[in-house]
Amino acid sequence: MESRLQIVAIVGAVGLLLLVLELVRRRALMERYALLWLFSSVVILGLAVWTDLLNALARQMGIMSAPNALFFVAVAFILLLLLHFSAAMSRLSDQSKVLAQRQAILEHRLSETERRAEARELEATSERTGAVL
């Protein structure tokens, strides 16, 4: 692999790694979601630094030029991350549905309780005024 390309790949991977760590530090990214990002950037960094491994990988997969193998690995990780986020999103939308349902049921229960309390109060006052009259 050409050394200029190697430098670009290394800088990119290190940049991604630092960005993810910084986001975790600022609490903008939960550890749960950061781990796959960290893993991807570490693997890409490893392949970019250790070109022998990348060449071997390219040969094994029948890819002519080593940089293409690096792109292939990066794209594979992107697909994996996207799938991961789709799964996370599915869970979140399911949870927000459950929350909305609970919220609606509780709101109904609260207004019923309030109405019943009001009715009781009204009854009590009318009884009292009846007694006075």
Partner: protein, 258 residues
Amino acid sequence: MPPHSPPTDRSTCLAVVPAYNEAATVGNVVTQLRHKAPQLDVVVIDDGSTDATAYIADRAGARVLKMPFNLGIGGAVQAGFKYADENGYDYMVQVDGDGQHDPGEISKLFSAIEDEGGADMICGSRFATATGYIAPISRRTGIHVFAFLLSRLLRQPVTDPTSGFRLYNRRAITLFAHDYPHDYPEVEAVLMLHHHRLTMREVSVRMFQRGGGTSSIGSGKSFYYMVKVLLALFVGLGRRRAVPRPGEPAAVAAEHGI
């Protein structure tokens, strides 16, 4: 109230029992709590169980907070902190719903928080002295790695940082009600406490093998557990925090947990 005053007759204490599908054991835990520590109010956090956990806990005489879905142990316990905070409890003790913590040992935690100086959190440890408890080997390695790291970071011996058998005072309750880690929170919570200049101490307690159900940490998740907690520990070192001077009240995180 000064931060370290001993529990008096008028101070209020809450027992929080996080339970996820612990129908087999939670009833006994609640009964034991009411029997052996009658001064405590008991609230069971039903973390979206699909079995009869909530029903059994209610029948055993506990208050039950039902989470609408499974939040994980961090979210469930934090619901307990919020409940304790909003209702003005002076102390909160956390007892697992799986029956591995002995409610009869709670008095040991209280006497440690009463001791001269006391601490903001008292942690029941299986390893502070030899107690005959043997954790599975996969768990043990992790526990010892975390114990070693925390002992260095806190500059005090920490032997059982994953134990969830803990007693918190008002300051610790306020802190954790605002900000508590998500997944596998126990280890990180010790470090958070330290960063906020609160203190923790361990006392040796006896623990039982699990009474039933399955641990929240299966062997497959052990690796994720290790990596996640290590990441959280090291990144946590670099966080800016509202650091109060020792002894200041309301040592609460500047940023709220999401």
